[in-house]
């Protein structure tokens, strides 16, 4: 464990714009050296929360602490930020632009140049350095933006919909880079609508809806909270024989009879456990596979928000 278990603590943060309450007493912790998913539908307050973390705006109420200390303007050098709405100066040269933005993070000239050189080489971008940004393809621009966000070697890297608009090859490349950065000890806050990438990358999440935090915790914990005691069972035998074995505490939700192997989804009632189900089945039939049906993040999202998560960035 690092010296602080939570690198960032969000404590009762509220923010209003005129009559609109963007955030209502939001509290949760972001564990260090993990990938933390910030989820929620459009207008849930994700971007507002990210802007308070990056100190673009200040909360009306509540506070954010970084490594146990209140956020201070000196802390911006420890943060890297790739906003959802991102852009570059179109007429500026790639290298000049990257140097400018990285040096604004407080890096000395030679240090900024050193770091950028490494990144440009790693992502094979070296031959673009003298190009104007307007001559780069969209994918190249996104790579450049990613490099600019990570080149100051941040303690906390905030990625707002990082994959929107990326082609599959670059998406995979950036995913690998994100995992590599995480292994080097960077905490990553990852805001997205894309639930499959949450499953793939995130260790913990917080879900916002209408300015309020709905749930937070490790992905595992969140999922187990939303377990519905459903089990997927494959066995050899007839439906009749199967139903007779189950008894009153287990209910068949779905059944697909096969010539040899059949599939069933069974719901447990009154605190019945998976173990008991296995014992019941194996007492009369041959069990081929048994698995608890864990809800996907996608299902949980819909459950909590009553809205389909979108995979594209709109806002």
């Amino acid at each position: 464990m690092p010296e602080h278990q939570h690198i960032l603590s969000i404590d009762g943060v509220s923010k209003r714009f005129g009559n609109f309450e963007a955030l209502k007493h939001v509290s949760f912790n972001i564990p260090a050296e993990e990938i933390f998913g910030l989820l929620g539908p459009n207008g849930a307050g994700k971007t507002t929360l990210i802007r308070t973390i990056t100190q673009i705006t200040a909360p009306d109420e509540g506070a954010i602490t970084f490594k146990g200390k209140g956020l201070h303007s000196n802390h911006t050098q420890y943060f890297g930020y790739l906003p959802e709405e991102r852009g570059l100066y179109r007429k500026m040269k790639v290298w000049d632009q990257a140097m400018y933005l990285v040096r604004l993070k407080g890096l000395e000239k030679h240090e900024a140049a050193q770091r950028l050189k490494e990144w440009f080489e790693r992502l094979s971008m070296t031959e673009w350095v003298n190009k104007s940004v307007e001559d780069l393809s969209k994918g190249m621009q996104q790579k450049l933006q990613f490099v600019i966000a990570v080149a100051n070697d941040p303690k906390v890297l905030i990625l707002d919909e990082p994959f929107s608009g990326f082609d599959p090859v670059n998406t995979e490349l950036i995913k690998q880079e994100i995992l590599r950065i995480k292994d080097q000890g960077t905490t990553i806050i990852f805001s997205t609508h894309n639930m499959s990438s949450v499953e793939e990358l995130c260790d913990s999440i917080a879900l916002l809806n209408k300015g309020e935090k709905v749930i937070d915790g490790t992905v595992e914990d969140v999922k187990s909270t939303f377990r519905k005691s459903l089990y997927e069972v494959r066995f050899k035998g007839s439906k009749m024989a199967f139903a007779n074995l189950l008894g009153y505490r287990f209910e068949i939700i779905d059944f697909q009879e096969g010539s040899v192997v059949s599939n069933a989804v069974v719901k447990a009632h009154d605190g019945a456990t998976g173990n008991q189900l296995v014992q019941l089945i194996t007492s009369g039939l041959e069990l081929v596979s048994f698995q608890e049906k864990i809800p996907s993040m996608h299902d949980i999202f819909i459950d909590l928000v009553h809205e389909e998560p979108t995979t594209t960035a709109e806002e």
Partner: protein, 447 residues
């Protein structure tokens, strides 16, 4: 978020603009045009492009028969009708008809019908020669000798001196410093306008590019806004100094090449102006005044208090520029694209435009009520006070200068503060049509 960052921003704003081709072209073209206009008007005043051969139609023939031409002007006095003369003009190499009607002795008016517009100098020369011809014929009819008449005439010139305190040498004044003041005032207008619009464009660029959010996660919006305003202002000053230096150099070189010999001749004539003028031929005297005038121009340029003028220029340019560019930065932050700026830019720049338009009437009456008020109100003072200072401010009126400067500083501080508050909200607002009421709400937001 350090002062270092503000420098980085200023440097970027400055360098990207100074390296632009348009900046380099403007820096060279501006002085070329200015020096060109100066030299050309100088050259025009000295050089007549073609000799004038004038057909004089004298209705009182032979009254004007003895009319003599002069430097590059020759007269041929004829007794013919105007219609006939016009036919003759068409068919010959005469350059113009000078029509002296029968009632000329009463009306004292004639007409010049030309093929190609002659210069003012030629026109004045013709006027003077006719006037003198008529004067001399009249005095002869009164039995006064020409020599007596010349003694009667008392040409009088007025040199004006600014009182600088007892025992100190008073400074000779002339119109020239105030003309330079007007030019500086107009330059202030141009520069404030050009460069505050550049600030606005820059803000819009960052907003529509969406680079803004990355930047303000590293620096405070106010830093970014001030960095931009200062950087662009430095570009303006650079342009101004390049213009001044190049214009001076080009003008110095140009006047040596184009009008060098005449200039030397002129300075010799300076001594001769002291000599009694009666003995001189009229056209020569005319020539002489012309040349000594041009000589005076150089002396007058040397007499302009450039440190004062440049100091006032710097102060009023920077003060006015900060004031207007802060407002323009706020406008840029409040809109999503260039076309939406019109509704704000017009009312904001109206006082500036008004000051520019009024600058010519202020030039005619620099101590009038209008001039005084406009030189104190901060939105017009940068242009108007510049012109008034060039005319010279009486020590009793110096409070107006101090008041004007203090108000300008206070107003731009307040305006930068207000603009900063609008800016920090505006740069993150997309797709919202900003009204004045909306802007007011932004000022009160807690960000």
């Amino acid at each position: 978020m350090s002062a270092n960052n503000t420098w980085l921003i200023i440097a970027r704003e400055y360098l990207t603009r100074v390296k632009k081709r348009s900046f380099i072209v403007m820096s060279i073209l501006g002085p070329l045009i200015m020096a060109g206009v100066l030299i050309f008007s100088f050259w025009l005043s000295l050089e007549e492009s073609e000799d004038q051969k004038i057909l004089v139609v004298d209705d009182n023939y032979p009254y004007f028969e003895a009319l003599e031409g002069g430097d590059r002007i020759s007269y041929e006095v004829m007794d013919m009708s105007l219609t006939k003369a016009e036919h003759l003009l068409e068919a010959s190499d005469y350059t113009a008809i000078l029509y002296l009607p029968s009632n000329i002795l009463q009306s004292k008016a004639g007409q010049l019908i030309f093929k190609k517009q002659p210069s003012f100098r030629v026109q004045r020369q013709i006027e003077e020669s006719i006037q003198q011809y008529m004067e001399i014929s009249k005095i002869q009819s009164f039995n006064i000798s020409e020599a007596d008449y010349r003694r009667l005439k008392a040409p009088f010139t007025l040199a004006t001196f600014q009182f600088a305190g007892a025992g100190r040498e008073a400074e000779e004044t002339s119109m020239l410093p105030s003309v330079v003041g007007l030019v500086f005032g107009i330059l202030i207008y141009l520069f404030i306008f050009m460069y505050s619009v550049q600030v606005m464009r820059g803000v819009i660029e960052e907003k529509t590019n969406r680079i803004i959010e990355v930047i303000i996660s590293s620096v405070r919006p106010f830093q970014l806004m001030m960095g931009k305003i200062i950087g662009v202002g430095a570009v303006g000053l650079t342009q101004f100094f390049i213009w001044i230096m190049l214009t001076v150099v080009l003008f110095a070189v140009g006047q040596r090449v184009v009008i060098g010999e005449k200039y030397v001749a002129g300075s010799q004539q300076q001594v001769m102006t002291e000599v009694v003028q009666e003995e001189m031929m009229e056209d020569e005297r005319l020539n002489l005044t012309q040349l000594s005038d041009s000589d005076n121009l150089f002396n007058k340029i040397r007499r302009i208090n450039f440190p004062l003028m440049l100091g006032a220029f710097l102060f009023y340019f920077l003060g006015g520029y900060f004031l207007y560019s802060a407002m323009m930065a706020a406008v840029g932050s409040a809109v999503d694209n260039d076309t939406d700026t019109q509704q704000f830019v017009l009312p904001i720049t109206f006082p500036l435009l008004f000051a520019y338009i009024m600058s010519f009437s202020v030039f005619e009456n620099p101590s009038g009520d209008l001039a005084v008020w406009m030189s104190i109100i901060p939105f017009t003072s940068p242009i108007i006070m510049m012109i008034r200072i060039a005319f010279g401010i009486e020590s009793g009126d110096m409070w107006q200068v101090y008041l004007s400067m203090t108000l300008l500083i206070l107003t731009f501080i307040i305006m930068v503060w207000i603009a900063g508050r609008i800016y920090r909200v505006g740069i993150l607002m997309y797709g919202k049509k900003a009204s004045l009421k909306e802007l007011y709400k932004w000022i009160t937001y807690n960000i």
